[in-house]
């Protein structure tokens, strides 16, 4: 479904992503794990078109997308929930969700919003509140709800568990599994490697812009190298 082929990404002169290749098949949960600064967020930003690879291709559903504008990529069903939730603080909960559905025809939006509210009842209670007044957990629910509003085929989640209390982390991962069960393919970037590898079909370990290791979720969570570096074992 998504194929990243030998991409190289630079920030000015700094070579951040080096010949990176990986793929995500239809219906999978794939995770990219790695330490801070390994290039995980950069990879997602490049796929979304915010950053441009200097060389290499990104293919989504048999179409090269590496030179498309970000909004064109979203309208193809490849959507990112950015790191740190990034709510529009001055917009209401409902308006944030409407922003998520920017590429959908207007008539479908009210039904989609009701779907999201059914999934996240807390958001319904707060629909007219501005997003800046929500708690961290509620903001993460809103961020994921907003990502779902565009009916993505592939949803990329950047550190959805970051900064959340353990109970909420479990909740976030439950929602990821639910979304997956509902037919959304997921590319999950996480520092919380143990949780990510539990839900993932396959995983890639990113180190300084390169794939250091890959395998099924189970294989990686049992690998000595991963245990030592990322699972605190």
């Amino acid at each position: 479904m998504l194929k990243v082929e030998n991409i190289n990404v630079y920030y000015d002169n700094i070579h951040v992503i080096k010949n990176l290749s990986f793929d995500v098949n239809d219906g999978e949960i794939v995770t990219l794990i790695g330490a801070n600064g390994a290039g995980k967020s950069t990879t997602l930003k490049t796929i979304s078109g915010i950053l441009r690879p200097k060389t290499g291709n990104i293919v989504f559903e048999n179409e090269e997308i590496q030179s498309l504008a970000p909004h064109k990529i979203v309208s193809k069903g490849l959507v990112q929930v950015p790191e740190g939730r990034r709510m529009f603080q001055n917009l209401t909960v409902e308006e944030n969700l409407e922003m998520g559905a920017y590429t959908l025809p207007k008539g479908e939006i009210p039904d989609m919003i009701e779907d999201i509210f059914a999934r996240f009842p807390r958001l319904k209670e707060r629909r007219k509140q501005v997003a800046g007044t929500l708690s961290g957990g509620e903001q993460q629910m809103l961020a994921m709800g907003r990502g779902l509003m565009s009916r993505p085929k592939l949803l990329m989640l950047d550190e959805p568990s970051m900064g959340l209390a353990p109970l909420l982390v479990d909740q976030v991962f439950d929602i990821i599994s639910e979304m997956h069960a509902a037919g959304v393919t997921i590319l999950l970037v996480e520092q919380n490697a143990s949780m990510a590898l539990q839900v993932a079909d396959r995983g890639y370990v990113l180190e300084t812009g390169k794939i250091a290791l890959y395998g099924s979720g189970k294989e990686l969570s049992e690998s000595e190298q991963v245990k030592k570096a990322y699972l605190g074992g």
Binding site: S48, G49, I50, A69, P70, H71, V74, S75, V79, Q80, P82, R86, F88, Q89, N90, L91, E95, E98, M99, G100, Y102, T103, K106, R146, S150
Partner: protein
Amino acid sequence: MSTFSLIIKQIINGLQLGSIFALVAVGYSMVYGIIRLLNFAHCDIIMVGAYIAWFFMANFANMPLIAVAASILGCTLLGVTIEKVAYKPLRSSPRISLLITAIGISYLLENTAQLMLGAAAKKVPGFFTVETIRIGQVTVSTASLVTIAVLAISMVLLTLLVQKTKLGRAMRAVSEDAETAQLMGTNINGTISFTFAVGSALAGIGSVLYCCAYPQVSPTMGSMLGLKAFVAAVLGGIGSIPGAMIGGFMIGLTEVFVSAIGLSTWKDAVVFLILIIILLVKPSGILGKTVSEKV
């Protein structure tokens, strides 16, 4: 005339002048909100709008509505073109480059106008016959009432646009966090163009109202008007649309009352004194929010 009716009359004059400042200030504020640029070319867009109005009124005096429409349309096209040609290529450059470019565009417009049309001021024929109406002891000119009414209608429409439409929501989202708005599928360049179009159309309306109040045009007419509107935008809180309106009215009223008490030579100084005070006391302005810089 009693002191009371004199005060009422001055308030109406202040609101008329304030309406013009407000229309221009809203344009400054909207553009600042979306690309964090003090668009110094904005004041010269008004000058061009006024020249367009003058041209049509001088040649087709019996069709004032055509002149108004041409002026608004001309300003809109000019604003969007300036953004596309001069600002868009600098989207990822340091903000200071953008600011310097804006100042450059401002000089370019002023000097082109001077070259083509001469430095001398030209008289703009009246758009409609201005009459004075008596309400009790107070006499007001229809020009004042029309100006205030046009501002009120413009602001209601603008508020509906920004608060209730999809494009308005996109404008607010882009001004808060452009990258995330892109990730939601917003066409950021389209949204920025649209913002310039709306801000410049308001400048077009402002230029016509300005010509109603002071019926002459010159290549540098925009600079003082633009500076004062800029003070109004800062006073109200730059980036805030209601703030720009409040700031516009406050600057308009201040000017009129300073003149009314016999200090008309001091009126510009007082306006800039307000700028200095607001920058010292509350740099975010009346309705502005102090936002911490994102890292």
